[in-house]
Symmetry: C2
Subunit: 218 residues, 2 copies
DNA sequence: TACTCGATGATTGCATCCAATTCAAGAGAA
DNA sequence: TTCTCTTGAATTGGATGCAATCATCGAGTA
């Protein structure tokens, strides 16, 4: 007997995926209330898989659940954001180290293309390209924990990166692009230590920039 | 009207907590099947909150879920374990940096007591003391992401730490204790850089030790 | 023997229903 | 007015039941 649902046993994961996307695109902003029945209707499912999805997103830090009360898109404080950037500063170089030997000439060319595109793009397009640039550095090695952890950190701070750009674009920061090209260069030369150093500095500088706009965090 | 349940709206979290404990104590070993109805009966609940608990533990990496099939206590491969130790090597020093200023003389005395006790303990007691020692270094600062991440890494590798000790205790390793005392000393002097360095080396050495017993991982 | 292919029981996935809780608005008293 | 209490709608939490799926085992065939 053929089932009505294509993929039985994955409703929760599917809903979580689409909700995650909605949060990252900004359709749901930090602090926004998430009602179980809304999501359920929108996905033609009951509230049960929605609750599973919410639990998953809670574990990823994207959603905050309060018992008997409801679910909200997680807010991030300045202190928490700094924490996450400091963690990234220490583990992304390690992740890059895992990937470096697997990034061939074609991959590096693509990275350079993204870096160049970024120089003449703005706001949402820049955000997307920057994310693509960095995550492309990490998509070769089959790490389990490390890759997932880094991706979560990117996701949890994504909304605030956009909020930051909206404010800080008045003084366009050239050194970001310079650092991107330094990273590309180090990867092309397969210089692991230099790549780690530049990447750590890149994240560190971004973190310090954030401190200058504490107003973004509510 | 008084309810029959003390805490409505927390069944999933409560079950997750007890299941997590059961996994850490070894009652459920890596690879063991977890049946929803078993857990439900054992906690006098239905399968709904059990499934929530399983989703939470899955997100923590303690449980592996397969759609339409079941749940198992997560296995960890040697490569994954190495990854986790490398991450710890990079972020635990940072977490220690957060906590160092908050560790007063009394706290350091307690740490030293644990370090001494460990020298004349074995197996399960050593595991417990070692965990208490390190986690006590981290329980002062109110970090959100960093503390949770480190705790998860400890939990995910806990079973294997026990398995390792059961095998490797034939050649008791004195340098572990030496390093513990170096850490205590650095904390007492509030020497952040030295504390970071010693801790990173301590974790790194443990990771390299693990490589010598790949048979632990299935 | 070894292999394929159905049936059957066990287990999970999800929808529905009811209970528990929260929140907000309004009545009543100080 | 302001505070407290009550009431009820809105929402979440959890139990039950049925559908979907998987694993096991045995019959049949090469």
């Amino acid at each position: 007997m053929a089932s009505l649902v294509i993929n039985h046993g994955a409703a929760g994961a599917r809903i979580a995926g689409e909700l995650r996307e909605a949060i990252l695109t900004g359709e749901y902003a930090p602090g926004a209330r998430i009602r179980q029945e809304d999501i359920a209707d929108r996905h033609g499912a009951s509230r049960v898989p929605v609750r599973e999805a919410l639990r998953m997103l809670e574990a990823e830090g994207l959603v905050t659940l309060v018992a008997n009360t409801g679910a909200w898109v997680s807010r991030v404080s300045l202190a928490e954001c700094q924490e996450m950037y400091q963690i990234r500063e220490r583990i992304e170089p390690l992740l890059l180290r895992y990937n470096l030997p697997l990034l061939d000439a074609a991959a590096v060319d693509e990275l350079e293309r993204l870096a160049v595109l970024m120089e003449s793009s703005e706001l949402d397009e820049f955000i997307a390209l920057d994310r693509a640039f960095h995550l492309s550095c990490y998509d070769r090695a089959e790490t389990t924990v490390l890759g997932a952890t880094v991706l979560q950190l990117w996701n949890r701070t994504h909304s605030y990166r956009r909020a930051y750009m909206r404010i800080a674009r008045t003084d366009p920061d050239r050194s970001v692009h310079h650092e991107h090209h330094l990273i590309v260069s180090a990867i092309r030369r397969q210089d692991v230590d230099e790549a780690e150093r530049v990447l750590a500095g890149h994240i560190r500088r971004t973190r310090l920039e954030l401190t200058r706009h504490p107003d973004i965090f509510e």
